[in-house]
Symmetry: C2
């Protein structure tokens, strides 16, 4: 895309260019962070923003453990892939994002106009797990945008022993850990060169 | 959360309050749209924004067909669940969001510093499908935010015959349709009352 064409696409958005840059264009996956802590207030602010984004039948299956203390980090690190261990040890916070397979227990409260919703899901474990994982995927996407909205950098990872992390941090056996995200202020040299993106015509067909 | 506490969480974000409202707080899942078309320029602008959001190993498995023409709508409507059919017929555009199970063919170009990535995925169909679906889930989340960034309302749906839609619009047999999203300017009375969200303490544990 030419520089002129790229400017035209920016102008076609209602979201202002500063916000476009903060959330998408300038934001980068970070591999190194400063020592500045991630505060309770920042974690609450991210949640209170992204909780409004939609999930199918308002299922909201995402559950999160944020690992900050030295004790919690010690429990997490052995289960990270070797290539993710040092950066996770050094990050001020690591969020573990899991799908709650038993999200349907909340539906009488969160989807009250369809009273049969809970029982519909209760009878079909496989469909429920698929619904939980798909919607948790959407919520992981929202969470990455929310972390950036707080002025923090996100370093999402899938290289870890998901079953072991679930046993350690979601011990009821009803959660599947899908993504871990290091969070904090990016250090100098926190990222590599930007990787190429697929072109519009490779991804989108408009009929 | 009290009004004061909620204002404190808004102020803890770097993203300005107008953008918070546009993307999350005021944005709503729409069930009815005006006749105003969704333009090629808007579709390109949404893509050019959200393409920058991260996927694991830069896999970018999302593929999209945007259904706008009467002919394309006719091919789609029989496969929508009955409760989604009328609103999909009336929406100016419906995006079909699918996971490309063969995303790994692009990795030599999109993840060049790990030349073995393509072959690692080529040998394991099940792992590849899981990677495709998880990352497409993240990209569906980004797409919903991107549609809102364009000043449009999104109406995401999962009630449809996914296999039939894949056969009709992604006929190579290597795609799984995960979500359909109606798009356009919201009509009057486009949405119901806001559904309740889970509380912070039900979702997040900070250690």
């Amino acid at each position: 895309m030419t520089a002129t064409a790229e400017h035209q696409t920016r102008d076609a958005l209602l979201l202002d260019e500063h916000a476009q840059d903060l959330l998408f264009r300038q934001a980068r996956t970070a591999n190194a962070f400063t020592d500045e802590p991630v505060t309770d207030e920042q974690i609450a602010a991210i949640f209170e923003l992204v909780k409004w984004a939609p999930t199918s039948m308002n299922t909201q299956p995402l559950r999160v453990v944020v690992v900050r203390s030295a004790e919690a980090k010690e429990r997490l690190l052995p289960h990270m892939a070797e290539g993710n261990r040092a950066k996770t040890a050094a990050a001020p916070a690591t969020a573990l994002l899991a799908a709650d397979i038993d999200f349907h227990e909340e539906l009488p409260r969160t989807f009250p106009h369809f009273p049969g919703a809970r029982d519909m899901f209760a009878g079909d474990d496989e469909s429920r797990a698929r619904t939980a994982e798909l919607n948790t995927g959407l919520q992981v996407g929202y969470a990455i945008i929310g972390i950036r909205a707080a002025g923090l950098a996100a370093g999402p990872m899938t290289g870890f022993d998901a079953d072991a992390i679930a046993r350690e941090f979601f011990p009821d056996g009803r959660h599947r850990v899908l993504v871990a995200i290091n969070m904090g202020k990016p250090a100098e040299n926190a990222w590599r060169d930007r990787l190429p993106r697929l072109a519009f015509d490779e991804v989108v067909t408009a009929l």
